[in-house]
């Protein structure tokens, strides 16, 4: 088990909480909750050790490209590939939009 924490600049708070994915092999669970405007915090729990550099690169690419809504994000990972991680995060932000 490894835990990593991140902090990125963000836009207005997310409209609502959202959940995406399951902690099953090659997948992950993303829990997204609204945060105070301007900041997104992320905690990653993963069973795969020694991949910090990949998480650093992937998350900074996703969260610095565009200003996403401000959120508290928890990621529970079971060996998802970077592509799956990105899709699950995008899915959570999509579902967190107000209807």
């Amino acid at each position: 088990m490894e835990q990593m924490s991140y902090r990125f600049p963000a836009a207005d708070p997310a409209a609502q909480h959202a959940l995406a994915g399951i902690v099953s092999s090659g997948d992950l669970e993303v829990l997204l909750e609204p945060n105070t405007a301007g900041t997104t915090t992320i905690v990653v729990n993963t069973s795969v050790k020694g991949r910090n550099h990949i998480w650093n690169a992937l998350l900074s690419r996703i969260f610095t490209a565009n200003a996403l809504p401000a959120a508290r994000v928890e990621i529970n990972d079971c060996g998802a590939t970077p592509g799956v991680v990105r899709m699950r995060i995008e899915q959570a932000f999509e579902e967190a939009k107000s209807q």
């Binding site: 088990m1 099953s24 829990l31 928890e74």
Partner: protein
């Protein structure tokens, strides 16, 4: 099934636990209890190098089915093989206990349990087993008032202590994907030898423990296609049947009498097993 039919149906087994619960409950009626954001997760898995899931792989959803109060308990088969640990097991048992309490207070509440599970979570051994015992007694308590319907439709199957839960349900629903048994194929092979049970032989496994075989052996009440609408319709029908006059598990004397007559020297066949169980139920 033709390709057109296959594309038209909405598969139940391909849904995750939360989506299955949503599909059974009346629209807008679903309210999740101890959901993922409550973060009541396993305290034991992280120290064994396994990432905990925020809901411990059990979804408890309160709502109505056809306007009648019901609680849907869905086990997530994709998380740790749907295994039952301390937290997930306590969620299931407590949800059933609360439903029984509602019945005693004059609110008739049924329960639907989605059994996509390998049984106890080995990493939480005794705590999981204790939780499964709590689930058993909670089913027996609740089924006196309202039906407890088990649905074992999925690729994981239903094994171990949770197959006993399936046997205690008022009604059990299965499909051709289902496997239902106390011990899994690999365990039987390990204990009894490959001549007795070849765990690599998939058709063999389904012939003995598959949904169709269990239905024809009268251990399953409804044999359905893997289709959300059909399963919901079956649940509605079974709920309207009410509490069965005699629960299957109340016939254990008859089953034991049949098992006593079985000649273990002969190689078992699916047909012989059907005969044994049918006789047990007709007695």
């Amino acid at each position: 099934m033709s390709p057109q039919e296959l594309l038209k149906r909405s598969s139940f087994s391909e849904l995750d636990a939360r989506a299955r619960a949503r599909c059974l409950l009346d629209p807008e009626s679903m309210r999740e209890l101890l959901g993922a954001f409550d973060r009541i997760k396993s305290p034991w898995l992280a120290m064994q190098g396994i990432t905990p899931q925020a809901d411990d792989g059990v979804v408890v959803a309160k709502g109505t089915i056809n306007g009648r109060p019901s609680v849907v308990i869905a086990i997530e088969g994709a998380y740790q093989g749907g295994s039952i640990g301390e937290v997930g097991g306590a969620k299931i048992a407590t949800a059933l206990n609360l439903a029984a309490r509602d019945n005693r207070r004059g609110i008739p509440t049924s329960a639907i349990v989605l059994l996509e599970t390998g049984g106890v979570r080995l990493q939480e051994a005794n705590l999981g087993l204790a939780a499964i015992a709590d689930i058993h007694s909670a089913i027996v308590d609740l089924r006196r008032y309202q039906p407890v319907i088990g649905i074992a439709v999925g690729t994981v199957g239903c094994y171990g202590g949770m197959s006993i839960s399936a046997g205690l349900c008022s009604y059990l629903i299965a499909s051709r994907e289902t496997r239902l048994g106390l011990n899994g194929p690999a365990v039987i092979e390990q204990e009894a030898g490959i001549n007795e049970f070849d765990a690599r032989d998939k058709p063999f496994i389904w012939r003995f423990t598959g949904g169709e075989q269990r239905y024809l052996s009268k251990l399953v009440d409804a044999y359905v296609p893997d289709d959300s609408n059909e399963i919901l319709a079956t649940v509605t029908t079974l709920l309207s049947c009410g509490v069965p006059k005699r629960h299957r598990s109340d016939s254990y004397h008859e089953f034991l009498a049949c098992l006593a007559e079985v000649d273990a020297g002969e190689q078992a066949s699916p047909e012989a097993i059907r005969r044994i169980y049918r006789k047990g139920l007709e007695a």
